[in-house]
């Protein structure tokens, strides 16, 4: 039940240049992690605009794409993460049962 607390979240966000969608995805992700995964996550941002070869290697089609590398299994979440609830469900982050 509480296995999640010991787990570490390794996240990789694929963006393409400094588009507004990319920047908002990053800020939404940071916000979400600070609130729910404080101290047990790492975010790596990959800009396909400068590293296009990684699009093929990591099978990226949509932008932005967030890849949860850890905990396993690997999951892909696409979109700017503006829908926090869906993002949390997709990341399988259990939120604390608080009212705030």
């Amino acid at each position: 039940m509480s296995t999640q607390h010991g787990e570490f979240w390794e996240l990789r966000l694929y963006i393409a240049g400094g588009t507004t969608r990319s920047t908002s995805a990053l800020s939404n992700l940071k916000q979400l992690c600070e609130k729910h995964l404080a101290g047990r996550h790492r975010i790596e941002v990959i800009d396909l605009g400068t590293k296009p070869e990684l699009a093929r290697q990591d099978q990226i089609v949509a932008i932005p794409t967030l890849v949860r590398k850890l905990p396993e299994p690997i999951r892909k979440i696409i979109g700017d993460l503006s829908n926090t609830e869906r993002a949390l469900v997709a990341l399988e982050v259990r939120t604390e049962p608080t009212t705030t």
Binding site: Y14, A16, R21, A25, N28, L48, G49, P52, E53, A55, R56, Q59, I60, V61, A62, I63, P64, T65, I74, R75, K76, I77, I78, G79, D80, L81, S82, N83, R86, A87, V89, A90
Partner: protein, 494 residues
């Protein structure tokens, strides 16, 4: 009043200048596909630097078409290509390429043909807000730039729709993709699944304005036929015809339907009929080279013997002959002809004679035509024999058969091939009309008819017509001897 005004706008014609503009529409530059026949019917290939949509149901040959477009581009035109696959695994693709005689791995090593398999697992993807397909653009763009690709295939783009939730985002992105491909200057082939009401299931044709080709694989009465139709080709006059095509180990062969132009070169050279007495009847010198000969007669009247005599004479001159046998196997034909002193096997051994035996009912008429044209191209004969064409009716209606023969004869005329056609007429009744009504298409028409005399049944031959020459009007008795066909003069006394 209002209604009259409406009427006025209704009947208004576009100004003359506009009409002229449209008729003077400049044709788009072409990108040759290298696919047999396709470049011929499209006036040189696909629109250069623009996307083309190939639509069809599963198994109709879309992927084979797309693959060959890239393979020929790489091998024949030195243009590197990228195969973006949303469906097929590279191994299947490699097999397709291999069957055309090329090694996909070798292509990839030399950056001539790059395969990018894009796997989209719906179950692995969650959507949480706005997104676009920039990743796909970057991916394809990177490969295009890396190998300097001129040709791109997207097979089957529609698979994307099952991978994403938002159809509206996808549609907007596809529109952007097609525009982007055009900006990149690549000639793209996009394949799409056939839809019920639309050409493709997702209406991709809406985004492709330059060229749309539909493939079809029909099975009528257990006879299968593949057909291709160009439903859209901007700025080009394209026929609305359906073209039969074949898929075999060499790839795709589209059969162009030649418009019945009568502008072929005519030859005044003569070729022997293979029967001395018949040569005599044909102004002493035989058939015209490149002309067409029709022989009508009932079963067992000697049509095959006349055909084989002609084949023998052709090969004796050192020329290649192609014999389509629709009733007998090759072995049967050789044995039967040996009984009248015609030895065909040496010609087969020397590669001059090629016998293609096939039951017409096994495949559709179109497939037959395609096979025949392909064999004609491969063997490059100076004479072709069809024995008998009446059997082809089994593969289609009489009207279809006539149209097909017209096309075939036209093609042979253009190539200067002498065509020898046997037609089996019903029963012993006398027919001065060919069952398939092709007599008007042929230059020379010989008739074999049954005769009865003093309790003996034999056959008579006469020349019903032979364009452009003085021919005999005699009716000769037609006999088969150990030394081949013999024509005896007494027949006219009957």
């Amino acid at each position: 009043m209002k209604s009259t005004q409406d009427n006025a706008t209704f009947t208004a014609e576009p100004p003359a200048s506009e009409r002229n503009d449209r008729s003077n529409h400049r044709e788009l530059p072409r990108c040759p596909t290298g696919i047999e026949g396709l470049d011929e019917i499209t006036g040189g290939g696909l629109p250069l630097g623009r996307p083309t949509l190939i639509a069809g149901a599963a198994g109709c040959g879309k992927t084979v078409f797309a693959t060959e477009f890239l393979v020929r581009g790489a091998t024949r035109y030195g243009e590197p290509g990228i195969f973006v696959s949303f469906e097929e695994r590279s191994e299947e693709l490699a097999r397709n390429v291999l069957s055309m005689g090329f090694d996909l791995n070798d292509f990839e090593r030399r950056n001539l043909l790059v395969v990018d398999h894009i796997a989209i697992e719906r179950s692995e993807i969650e959507e949480t807000g706005e997104y676009d397909l920039e990743g796909l653009f970057i991916r394809i763009g990177h490969e295009i730039d890396r190998v300097g690709a001129k040709r791109v295939v997207l097979d089957t783009l529609e698979s994307l729709f099952s991978g994403f939730e938002s159809a509206s985002i996808l549609r907007a992105e596809l529109r952007r993709l097609f525009r982007w491909l055009k900006d990149k200057g690549v000639t793209a082939v996009i394949t799409g699944e056939r839809g019920d009401r639309l050409i493709t299931r997702q209406g991709l044709e809406e985004y492709v304005s330059d060229c749309v080709i539909v493939l079809d694989h029909r099975v009528d009465a257990q006879i299968s036929t593949r057909r291709l139709r160009i439903v859209k080709y901007r700025g080009a006059a394209h026929g609305t015809n359906e073209y039969p095509f074949l898929i075999d180990e060499d790839g795709v062969t589209v059969v162009p339907i030649t418009s019945a132009q009568l502008d072929h070169q005519v030859s005044s050279e003569r070729v022997s009929t293979g029967v001395l007495a018949l040569d005599e009847m044909m102004g002493g010198r035989g058939y015209y080279r490149g002309s067409s000969v029709l022989v009508s007669g009932a079963g067992g009247s000697g049509k095959t013997s006349l055909a084989a005599s002609f084949a023998n004479a052709t090969c004796r001159r050192g020329e290649r002959c192609l014999y389509f046998a629709f009733e007998e196997s090759e072995a049967q034909l050789i044995r039967n002809m040996r009984s009248i002193g015609l030895e065909l096997s040496p010609w087969i051994d020397r590669g001059l004679l090629r016998v293609h035996a096939a039951r017409p009912s096994l495949t559709g008429l179109e497939t037959h035509l395609a096979t025949m044209q392909k064999l004609i191209r491969d063997h490059a004969p100076r004479a072709v024999i069809l024995d008998p064409i009446s059997n082809l009716i089994a593969a289609g209606t009489a009207l279809d058969t006539r149209a097909m023969l017209l096309r075939l004869m036209d093609d042979m005329k253009r190539k200067g091939i002498t065509a020898f056609v046997n037609d089996l007429t019903a029963g012993g009744a006398f027919h001065e009309a060919s069952d398939i009504g092709i007599s008007s298409l042929t230059d020379t028409w010989l008739l074999l008819r049954d005769i009865e005399r003093r309790g003996e049944r034999s056959h008579a031959l006469y020349v019903l017509k032979s364009r452009g020459m003085k021919h005999s009007n005699q009716i000769r008795e037609f006999l088969l001897s150990d030394e081949g066909v013999v024509l005896r003069k007494e027949a006219h006394t009957l």
